[in-house]
């Protein structure tokens, strides 16, 4: 079972992000479960949502405490809460920023994990560019798909189409695609350097 925890703020589509991830996994024939950290959070408050992906029925209902991947939609949360809590050493981190982990002051932490699994992506900029709104959830999914290889970009696009329609869907798909390609390209560069 693969477990994802998504952190963000109310209004950033955190819950929708988890739901779309579950739909994408479902479309690939897998079992998936998405659920929010239920609360009465208003716009701007820290919000958490979870997604589990597995090859058999998912019965577990506890929150994701040892995530295999963290999607952090709002970097300002780093100062506020322990978003990395419980992250597996093999885990993935997708962080919404145009800076690097080093620049974010996370160098120390980053060395505890596998560097190629730590990804930063300027998701807010991509969302503003393609959707016109601070909705980083979708480009974050694109980046996650590229980094983890767990779901395909096509499935992400189909999930987007289930949640949105028309221009909004198109914009989101464009944002997800650009994020996906950016991560893929960065990894190829890193790979080339490593070789």
């Amino acid at each position: 079972m693969f477990q994802v925890r998504i952190h963000g703020r109310g209004g950033q589509g955190v819950v929708t992000g988890a739901e779309m991830l579950s739909i994408a996994a479902f479309l690939e024939g897998r079992h998936a479960q998405a659920f929010p950290s239920f609360g009465s959070e208003r716009t701007g408050a820290p919000v958490v949502a979870f997604c589990r992906i597995a090859d058999k029925e998912i019965r577990l209902r506890e929150p994701v405490m040892q995530p295999d991947a963290l999607i952090i939609q709002d970097a300002t949360l780093l100062a506020q809460i322990d978003v990395f809590s419980g992250l597996e050493t093999e885990g993935y981190v997708i962080l919404n920023t145009h800076r690097s982990f080093e620049e974010m002051g996370l160098g120390e932490l980053a060395r505890r994990f596998r560097p190629e699994r730590l990804v930063t992506i300027p998701a807010t900029e991509l969302a503003l560019k393609h959707v016109g709104r601070n909705a980083p959830n979708v480009p974050m999914l694109g980046a996650f798909a590229a980094a983890s290889g767990l779901i395909s970009l096509e499935s992400v696009a189909s999930a987007i189409r289930q949640k949105f329609s028309g221009k909004v869907a198109d914009g989101n798909i464009a944002a997800a695609t650009e994020a996906y390609n950016a991560v893929k390209a960065a990894r190829e560069v890193a790979h080339a350097q490593a070789v």
Binding site: A18, E19, Q33, F35, G39, L60, R61, P63, V83
Partner: protein, 417 residues
């Protein structure tokens, strides 16, 4: 058709497939997505020949349901928590009149202190209201149970409450196999009422009954619930024939056969318990689970049959009767009367507190070694409780308890776990 969707959405679709004729509701978290979905479907014409009524209170919701059901319309409503309490008088009235209304209760804690998160206090408060109470383990079952509920309700002329865990199920996206309209039509015949307000054949419904017959009328309400003990498994079997899956029924055993220790629970927590038990079994521990699907009627003999071999029983419940302890546990004790077994009550998950495998492991291992007290509050913070008790001993005007406790806890903890 397989679908990845929100629990509320699945339930709304299932209710729609049952061809309801009147839907009335008043919004309350976490029921809202269900009734919003249905309202939209009615407005969009996806549910035909159906009236959707936005009422001014839950009391009115159940009252409208009473009127429409008595007029022969298949009627649905949904609520939770304070909403269920607000409609109580009409809830009892609906069952007393024998009206086959189906209602979802998106289980949520009761105030004060106000709390929107999940536990079973709301529907448990209505355990004696005369409604049938079915509990869903996951969203597939939540959807299926609604379809079954109409059949059970209408066959017995009794209202049915389908209880599903608020947020944990209502707001969770998971895989659901949505039935087709043809399947549901084959399973669920049109509603033929036993009593109806019809000018062609006038009847008086709801008149006063004195001591000479009240006991008999009430006994018949009980007798109907006893009939439900036969009907619920039968409907579940019929459901399986058409839809091909197990849903509903009275109880659901898991790894029970040789289990020395058996956990009893209701609702979505069964999933987490099963995962925990798999892990314990892997460690060679003899343990199993019995899920209760039908809480009213309470399946006394089915439970007794399933548990007679167990050495100890741990009833894990998301509610409790203040001043005595377990609610489900009390009923289980009644079922196991005369057998030599330890029966533990574990109160867990109140007001949305997470029930984790880690805590379950700890508590169940304590039970296995008979080191658990008879009534155990899982993950209770004793130091917080004791601090407040101390404060009350020391100061007369100690202030509101809930505020004191939250102050003691310090800044509201960021809630990752």
């Amino acid at each position: 058709m397989l679908k990845q969707c929100e629990g509320s959405h699945a339930v709304a679709e299932a209710v729609a497939l049952a061809r309801p004729e009147v839907i009335c509701a008043y919004p309350i978290s976490p029921q809202t997505h269900i009734v919003e979905g249905l309202g939209e479907m009615v407005k969009a014409g996806e549910i035909q020949d159906c009236e959707y009524i936005n009422v001014e209170s839950e009391f009115a919701a159940m009252s409208v349901a009473i009127g429409s059901s008595a007029t022969g319309a298949r009627t649905y409503t949904a609520t939770a928590s304070q909403g269920l309490l607000f409609m109580v008088e009409a809830v009892y009235n609906a069952s007393g009149l024998g009206l086959p209304i189906v209602m979802t209760v998106a289980n949520r804690a009761l105030g004060a202190p106000i709390n929107i998160w999940n536990d079973h206090s709301d529907s448990m408060s209505q355990r004696d209201c005369g409604w049938i109470q079915l509990f869903a383990e996951n969203n597939q079952e939540a959807a299926d149970l609604h379809i079954q509920a109409f059949k059970i309700a209408e066959e017995l002329s009794l209202p049915v409450m389908v209880c599903m865990d608020g947020f944990i199920l209502t707001h969770a996206y998971e895989r659901v196999d949505m039935p087709t309209q043809e399947q549901v039509d084959a399973f669920l015949p049109p509603y033929v009422p036993r009593q109806v307000l019809d000018p062609r054949d006038p009847v008086s419904i709801g008149a006063m009954v004195g001591p000479e017959a009240y006991t008999e009328v009430r006994y018949l309400a009980h007798a109907k619930q006893m009939q439900a003990l036969e009907l619920i498994p039968k409907v579940s079997r019929e459901f399986k024939e058409i839809f091909g899956r197990d849903s509903g029924g009275l109880v659901r055993p898991y790894l029970l056969e040789d289990a020395d220790t058996v956990v009893i629970a209701l609702g979505s927590v069964l999933g987490t318990i099963k995962d925990t038990i798999d892990e314990m079994r892997a460690d060679g521990i003899s343990i199993g689970v019995l899920g209760i699907n039908s809480f009213r009627p309470f399946p006394v003999s089915a439970i007794r049959r399933a548990l007679s071999h167990a050495k100890r029983i741990v009833v894990l419940e998301k509610s409790f009767a203040v001043g005595i302890g377990g609610i489900v546990a009390t009923d289980v004790r009644m079922a196991m009367d005369g057998l030599d077994q330890r029966i533990y009550t574990v109160v867990a998950g109140l007001g949305g507190r997470n029930i984790t495998r880690a805590s379950l492991h700890r508590v169940l291992r304590m039970a296995m070694h008979d080191q658990l007290e008879g009534l155990h509050f899982m993950d209770l913070e004793w130091n917080i409780v004791n601090r407040e008790l101390d404060r009350e001993r020391q100061t007369r005007r100690s202030g509101p308890i809930a505020e004191n406790i939250l102050r003691d806890l310090g800044q509201t903890k960021s809630n990752v776990g």
